[in-house]
Assembly symmetry: D2
Homo-oligomer: 248 residues x 4
Amino acid sequence: MPPLSKLIAIVAGVGPGTGASVARKFSSHYPVVLLARKPESYESLAEEINSNGGKALGISTDVSSKEGLAKAVEGIKKEFGADVAAAAAVFNASGPFLRKPFLEIPAETFESSLSVSALGGILFSQAFLPLLLKGLESSEHPPSLIFTGATASVKSNAQMASFSTGKWALRALSQSLAREFGPQGIHVAHAIIDGVIDIPRTREWLKDMPPEAKLSADAIANDYWWLHTQPKTNFTWEIDLRPAIEKW
Amino acid sequence: MPPLSKLIAIVAGVGPGTGASVARKFSSHYPVVLLARKPESYESLAEEINSNGGKALGISTDVSSKEGLAKAVEGIKKEFGADVAAAAAVFNASGPFLRKPFLEIPAETFESSLSVSALGGILFSQAFLPLLLKGLESSEHPPSLIFTGATASVKSNAQMASFSTGKWALRALSQSLAREFGPQGIHVAHAIIDGVIDIPRTREWLKDMPPEAKLSADAIANDYWWLHTQPKTNFTWEIDLRPAIEKW
Amino acid sequence: MPPLSKLIAIVAGVGPGTGASVARKFSSHYPVVLLARKPESYESLAEEINSNGGKALGISTDVSSKEGLAKAVEGIKKEFGADVAAAAAVFNASGPFLRKPFLEIPAETFESSLSVSALGGILFSQAFLPLLLKGLESSEHPPSLIFTGATASVKSNAQMASFSTGKWALRALSQSLAREFGPQGIHVAHAIIDGVIDIPRTREWLKDMPPEAKLSADAIANDYWWLHTQPKTNFTWEIDLRPAIEKW
Amino acid sequence: MPPLSKLIAIVAGVGPGTGASVARKFSSHYPVVLLARKPESYESLAEEINSNGGKALGISTDVSSKEGLAKAVEGIKKEFGADVAAAAAVFNASGPFLRKPFLEIPAETFESSLSVSALGGILFSQAFLPLLLKGLESSEHPPSLIFTGATASVKSNAQMASFSTGKWALRALSQSLAREFGPQGIHVAHAIIDGVIDIPRTREWLKDMPPEAKLSADAIANDYWWLHTQPKTNFTWEIDLRPAIEKW
């Protein structure tokens, strides 16, 4: 019998928030591949994981580019072997958007938002589902494809269309994939992050509120890990996550 | 007092089904502009309307192109005057898609589906909302921006992702616009067409079922007209439409 | 051939708002039966309709009582003949509720809210669906069973549980009945009234807002009539209705 | 400083499925109170837990009776002290229902279904929220109130109204309580069990399918435990749970 494939986890959209926490969490179980457009988004994290006894490989890539993702897969195979398989793939990227009156938003903003949030999720899934399917034979937990959503994945407020259009499309993608790949053993899930995440960029937000008014990125990572460990008798497609004191 | 602007209705995605019926219905109240990629999609309809005492102007345009839409607006102003206003704009276009296993669908299919269904809806709205806002002063009924959705706007089945991603994005757009432009007096609505429409292309479908197993395109047009005539005390954002015997 | 049955419309929950407007609207097409617990809720309306050339029969009944409804049906048959049929039945009743902290609401409030909004809708449907089914043979428009919902039919806010529990149950009822009786030709619909209706009781509300900040009860009645006239190729199960300037 | 209150978990609707698994799971952390109408529903389970080093107290009660629940609380205080507090309360009861044509279902079936699924959930919450609030001071994890839902909590199929009306009402209750009590630190959650649970009663169902075609009750219990351990920065209100191969 040939040795089982090496199992890895891939995280796209690694920054100082959810992506990093998820990568850290999964790195204690699998080598992790960190995808981000700019190397500075993953370099220190990769270093941290590698120096803590884990294994991390950072790859600079644009998830809205099919060719970029193909090169990322190539880089992964070079590092982990041509028969590399995935236990988890987490899509945590979002396109840039503007919260402005609709008629003041350039068409380009909508285009680039859709190209990351919607098309990016599609291309990411097409790139890594083959590795997840290969993971079926060796992964202890059902190979998992997890998408990070937001309040704007289920509610489309005024002036939020350049964000919500992509996020609704991504949610549609995740639901369709859950229905197609669930029966094949892949766990596809979607998380609605409904609140402000406590990261450096949001340090000054909600300052008059108690600290627990923000979501913990590490706790989101725990929730993603919980999704990953659900047995195939009990798959959850969607969870919502919000601070206890959040108004919704 | 200067004379009030000329009020028109614009229908994008005119083919032999819903688009044509909507154009016919609205043409008994307003001159109608028929947008489609290929002239053969609107030529006979324009002729029919013009010879029946109505007024129709067909313009060949690609709704996924900002420049194309700008030229269409130019053509409209040339025909109806620079101060033309709109009483209604109906977005009835959808991108091509494939009902196939996800990993067999080319990235290009997703791209072109998103570029028509999602980006097309965005660009159409940016092109014609200024005309609708101008219509506020003279339109008897609240100027209306109506989007045609589908079952796949609210449910994302296996193998349907190349359709549903764009349709969910379009629904998000319509909800955000309803919230932003409703208070300005524009009625934004979304119709979920949940079933097969009775058009030449579907003549052979559901042949073992009674004729009322398919939606009537003319009845859809009546429903759009009803949406258009709702007063601003009573706006409906969303309706679903299906044959009585449809399973859902 | 025996003469076709007499077609009537039944409205439960007739007060000075939606119920009265719906009854007035439908009374120009059908004799109407007005159901309310207290005669003073329908007396002046019945008089008005009867003196305007319409025909109205008020019956004092409690929709949460099976026996009460059976007696109402008896009264209807006495008036309109044993073979009376219905073209429309509108359930517009709601139980009393309290907007208060959950632990301060007496169990009795929940019980009576459920017994009107939920059980009342069930008993009303069981009482009048037989008449609607009989209406199939003679009604020009598909016999219609319409339920009045509210914001609280789709959103369950803090302190609103004594209202929303009954309203969600009623929405569930309407969806199930739409799926069961639609194929039999009965049009079952549910309207989400999302805002304040302009009635005597709300005269003092939203006084700093323009008059169109409130829903018009007469316009709701028009919408119900539109639902009633949809052909069986194009049934709408659910509409939402709100003032253009409503935040949602 | 007075000693902290004794923390217990309460499970209503203990039978051979989810209720028993949840009770077993939580019994390794807390003494558990087992509520069921008939003693035979909890007797062997209580014995099993007590003989395994845990602590279980079975109480025969009808959740649709306010007085019955008051007596249960009394019994709990007698056993665990007047200052007893709760770390978790799980409402897992459903009323009886009939899957039949609507007009063939006796009114009594609807009444008893609503009185358990809807009113039962309300009365259970009113009885045990005070104990959960008392648990705030001593519980390691946020005191949790968890409701068991079903496919019929979000979809109301033909002939299912006698089940879905109660389940939609229960979901409304859970959403309202999540919004009211979340800010007070109580974690209110709702689980949509979307499939057949593998219990003795369903042994013969889906026999031509692989064993993982059914939900595992023990895995549901793990999911409920995971909900219970979420920190108050990251509360999930709703999860869906279904076998990987389930069609939905």
